[in-house]
């Protein structure tokens, strides 16, 4: 039963990543990120129970509170306050993007077979999904114009790395994990402040306008 829950949640994360690729509304993308984080937290909880690793509960709680709710709410407030044009305009259209992501998923699964733990069972799927989500996150980062959607792509990459860490190591040492959480929060705050400054100056958060510096 437990392996199935883990695989289901991990697969759910991949699905949210795909939905992010296909989504045009900025608010929905932020919510999808929240759902993705909650799924990650569920994976951590299930692993904490089945492998008896209590420190994963701490990680799951932090993920739920911070990534599941605090960061999405903060980002929504930033978007709300900016209050301009909430549609996402990707550089690449949706069908082509989805096709590219399909290719990335195949690659992710292929790479996961190289690991010592990665050939069979749950870890194979968790690693495969983790690597695929990672690459989809990177793909989102290069194809999005809006500052906030680039931030979301970065956060997706972060989630994928956590999933890989869960699958392959059952979690990093607690102190390190807390430190990483602290840094992620700080990074989101800094990004938020920067987005607001960019909007104040450019009256847009289209980062493709940031192209004066060359050579």
């Amino acid at each position: 039963m437990t392996p199935n829950v883990v695989i289901l949640c991990a697969a759910g994360m991949l699905v949210t990543a795909y939905l992010m690729v296909g989504q045009k509304s900025l608010f929905t993308t932020i919510r999808l990120y929240g759902v993705q984080s909650l799924l990650l937290a569920t994976v951590a909880v299930v692993m904490a129970i089945s492998d008896k690793r209590p420190h994963l509960f701490v990680m799951a709680t932090m993920t739920t509170v911070l990534k599941g709710f605090a960061i999405p709410l903060f980002l929504m407030r930033v978007v709300d306050r900016i209050g301009i044009h909430r549609e996402i305009e990707p550089f690449l259209n949706v069908p082509a993007s989805l096709l590219a992501c399909l290719g990335l998923t195949v690659v992710g699964y292929r790479v996961s077979t190289g690991f010592a733990e990665g050939t069979v069972g749950v870890t194979h799927h968790v690693l495969g999904v983790g690597l695929s989500t990672l690459m989809i996150g990177l793909f989102l980062m290069v194809t999005r114009k809006k500052a906030i959607s680039q931030v979301l792509a970065l956060l997706t990459v972060e989630n994928a790395i956590f999933l890989i860490a869960l699958g392959i190591t059952s979690g990093m040492p607690l102190v390190v994990e807390l430190g990483i959480f602290f840094d992620v929060i700080l990074a989101v705050l800094v990004l938020g402040i920067l987005v607001r400054r960019i909007v104040d100056r450019f009256e847009s958060m289209d980062v493709s306008r940031l192209s004066n510096l060359k050579g």
């Binding site: 990459v157 972060e158 004066n212």
Partner: protein, 492 residues
């Protein structure tokens, strides 16, 4: 509380004091005295390392071996020097009414935090803490890049943050994979991520996972170091950051990032042999030197020129490490030391020149600056001689050492390409700076007159240190470089 802990606390206290809104004089005294104390403590820690038991703290999570001690001293030095120049820089801007109290406060908080993060990088023996500290350097420096709050500074800060965070994401993945490669052999508490533990269990690491981890970690930390092709944030950030912050990025951050690269390289070397990560570093280093070449030749902005020079230098160091062997590694570490002393001269003088002309674009500054700002121009020329590695100055010797080791070793073709690139880079840089300083004045640019103020004084001191370091490195510093080289070539 040990000496090591105080060394790290000193800049944090300075930052806390700097956060209090005070008059300009008080803020200047706080930042300079705070970072002087920090540098003093760095020296004391290094001294303790040279003469006694290895300084450690928190169950060896912080540990000062030869490599750490060298980077610690260099980062402490550059922190103090750039804060000192920063005082002069801010005074000049203040006189023109460009500085708000908030900007001053930002500077006096973020600079010490940045120094703290760099010092933490240089003493951390734990790969997790190392990552956290590097992330902290990024976050501390974003607002230094955005300091002037112009359109272009926001663009530069955005690129810097996105690329830096992405790089750090890779580095985090690399760290996770390195941890995974041990397959539980190292335990699960904090000590499991200790670098010393990895070295002790090198033979038990799973090769595939380790390889992947090393690649990700090298790419990730390489982004912070500014190795090509992850260097693209550098020219923008250097141009927009105020010159004192630019120096901290170009020298302090470079050293700290190189420290991370070395730690990862050493794990990989112990487990997989020298060629895997060595070859990767050699390739990235060579690529950096080659990428810098065309951009230096066609450059239109003084500070961006320096950024490409910085990309070149990190490339040289990576090549030195990648070539492997005692002589090349020693050359690379010597290069790092000399570079730390030499680079501020070029940065400070070009910063002053840009301030006098209100722009760092060649077109605005105009040729023939020697007649307008003789002392600064002369210092810039001197700085250019230093950073291009012209004889008889220091960087020439370290570059020669790396080249010699390369030609004697097994990488003759790579070294030949490297040598050719260095020669072209020298010509390009000399052409650009020579034209700027000595060229015939055609237009009549608007420029403030040069005055012998605090900033120029600091530049003169930096030049003096650079010249002295060419001919004489103090015994203890030489001892540190040797100890660091021993760590790198033996992996001990």
């Amino acid at each position: 509380m040990t000496l090591l802990v105080w060394t790290l606390l000193a800049p944090l206290l300075t930052a806390a004091l700097g956060g209090i809104r005070a008059s300009r004089k008080v803020e200047e005294v706080v930042i300079i005295s705070g970072l002087s104390v920090t540098f003093g403590l760095c020296l004391a820690t290094a001294w303790q390392f040279l003469n006694g038991p290895m300084p450690t703290a928190f169950n060896e999570a912080l540990r000062v071996d030869g490599l750490s001690a060298l980077v610690l001293v260099l980062c402490g030095f550059i922190g103090l020097l750039s804060a000192a120049y920063g005082v002069g820089y801010t005074r000049r801007n203040d006189a023109r009414g460009l500085v708000t109290p908030r900007m001053r406060q930002e500077f006096s908080v973020l600079t010490p935090v940045y120094v703290f993060a760099m010092l933490l990088v240089s003493v951390s023996n734990n790969l997790g803490i190392l990552w956290i500290a590097v992330e902290l350097t990024t976050l501390a420096s974003v607002f230094l890049v955005a300091y002037h709050n112009r359109d272009t500074s926001l663009e530069a800060a955005w690129k810097f943050l996105m690329l830096g965070s992405l790089g750090l994401g890779f580095a985090l993945l690399g760290t996770v994979l390195l941890f995974a490669s041990a397959q539980g052999a190292l335990g699960e508490d904090l000590t499991a991520l200790h670098w010393t533990q990895f070295m002790a269990h090198a033979s038990e690491l799973h090769p595939f996972t380790l390889r992947l981890g090393v690649v990700f970690a090298l790419i990730g930390y390489g982004t912070k170091a500014g190795l090509a092709p992850m260097h693209t944030w550098k020219p923008d950030a250097y141009r927009e950051a105020p010159s004192p912050a630019g120096v901290m990025m170009a020298v302090g951050m470079l050293n700290a990032a190189l420290y991370c690269l070395l730690r990862v390289h050493l794990i990989s070397k112990a487990a997989l042999g020298r060629d895997f990560s060595g070859g990767l570093l050699l390739t990235l280093g060579l690529l950096s030197v080659l990428v810098a070449m065309p951009f230096i030749l066609i450059q239109w902005n003084l500070k961006r020129l320096l950024a490409y020079s910085s990309i070149e230098h990190v490339g040289i160091m990576a090549v030195g490490i990648g070539l492997g062997g005692e002589a090349a590694v020693f050359g690379a570490l010597l290069h790092m030391t000399y570079h730390t002393f030499a680079k501020p001269v070029a940065f400070f003088s070009s910063g002053t020149l840009a301030q006098l002309h209100r722009s760092s674009n060649f077109a605005v500054i105009g040729r023939g600056t020697l007649s307008r700002a003789p002392i600064t121009s002369a210092l810039l020329l001197l700085g250019a001689l230093f950073v291009t590695g012209s004889p008889p100055f220091s960087l020439f010797f370290s570059e020669m050492m790396i080249l010699r080791a390369g030609f004697l070793g097994s990488h003759v073709i790579a070294t030949s390409v490297f040598l050719a690139a260095l020669v072209i880079l020298f010509c390009g840089f000399a052409y650009q700076i020579g034209g700027l300083v000595l060229g015939e004045q055609v237009s009549d640019p608007v420029a403030d007159p040069e005055t012998l103020d605090w900033g120029l004084g600091v530049t003169l001191v930096a030049a003096l240190i650079a010249i002295v370091s060419t001919f004489y490195l103090p015994g203890p510093l030489m001892g540190l470089i040797r100890a660091a080289a021993a760590v790198v070539s033996e992996g001990a």
